[in-house]
Symmetry: C2
Subunit: 213 residues, 2 copies
Amino acid sequence: MRVLSLLDRVVAGGAVGLTEAADATGIPVSTALRHLRVLTSHGYLVRNDLGRYSVGPSFVRLALAAFQSGPYARLTAAAQPALQRLADTTEESAYLAVRDGSEAVYIATVESRRAIRHVGWVGKSVPIEGTALGEALASEMTNHGRPPAPFFNTGAIEPDVTAVVAPIHGSEGIVGAFSVLGPAERLTGERLDRTAEAVVDAAVKTSLALFPR
Amino acid sequence: MRVLSLLDRVVAGGAVGLTEAADATGIPVSTALRHLRVLTSHGYLVRNDLGRYSVGPSFVRLALAAFQSGPYARLTAAAQPALQRLADTTEESAYLAVRDGSEAVYIATVESRRAIRHVGWVGKSVPIEGTALGEALASEMTNHGRPPAPFFNTGAIEPDVTAVVAPIHGSEGIVGAFSVLGPAERLTGERLDRTAEAVVDAAVKTSLALFPR
DNA sequence: CGCTGGTATTTCATTAAATGAAATCACTTT
DNA sequence: AAAGTGATTTCATTTAATGAAATACCAGCG
């Protein structure tokens, strides 16, 4: 699995030298070099003129496939209309996220049209612990036919950013969550209430689209 | 590297059983099972209730990173305005592709607004040999300061689909190519000529954006 | 209900690849 | 020229991978 650790670090890091990759993964440089050479020979990585490794075309092909077939294709397709509606009605950026072990990863977004808006969290991971998103993804479906309750948090990841979250259910439990993110000073009072209603509504509709009962 | 072959097949395949993954990679099922379990334990794959393996959240996180940092982030960002212009001016679907060994992979698109339009080739691989795209990606920078010549082909991959292609240069040679794809009956005569000019122009402008001289 | 076929899982002995330190090389900076 | 950093090669050792065979499970069919 060393080879995947290295691949992970290089793809996540953008452009990474041998010693940096070895240090980041705790692998001796001679071992890391061998693995990086194998990954490069198969096209998963490329090595540029400066000797730095980056993602290669074979990995890119798989990255595209990951969103075109399989569960994330279905989830992102089912979620897209709801994300658009969420961004339109709440006038804040709306995100779709999934659970990745002890973290949550934002995998899709429709950004708010406002000049002051939350941006750039697709691909970002946040901990399950201590975040509204984490709570939502780790929650149980305990509402017995009633709409799920929304989750709120301010400042968990960034100061003055409020998150309003609702989980999405599929055939095998919680498959993702919607999160609307915006400045805390805007998301208060009645705007916060209406945002919560919209997020819950989006989650319920997307859950039904994925798993009709 | 067996582990990456398996990962490749599962991600590309969408939802794949143990025996299918083993057969597709030529790996004995007991060995394949072990690898699939390791991939699942790290979150790169998931296994559903039916026992089929699909892409998992750790892989999705990397897939997103592949387009956010590193060479493909730069390439797709630099190419986006040109793809949009190409689709607008030619009224056909425009694609960006890169070379992956003996194949070419389409990695981004702006689709034509026409009802009859070419769709759905992002993530698809075509051979270098026998295609206009392949010729373009394999070509040398032999025009010595003059604009590159466009490449044409009809029916190489699908009957009655014409491709008009031009390579994009970066600091280390050819880094990608633009391809406009549309019905052969539409892309003839003066429309074909103007499409070729537009593709070459897009490639030249994107090359300059990536590697100013 | 029993049988068959296909798929998945476990076990265990064998093999092959991975490993990693040390020596060496290359390049940049002082 | 020397020093420091990063990369590469070599080689002996170790560890993980391997894969066949046995077993278990499940769905479909007669």
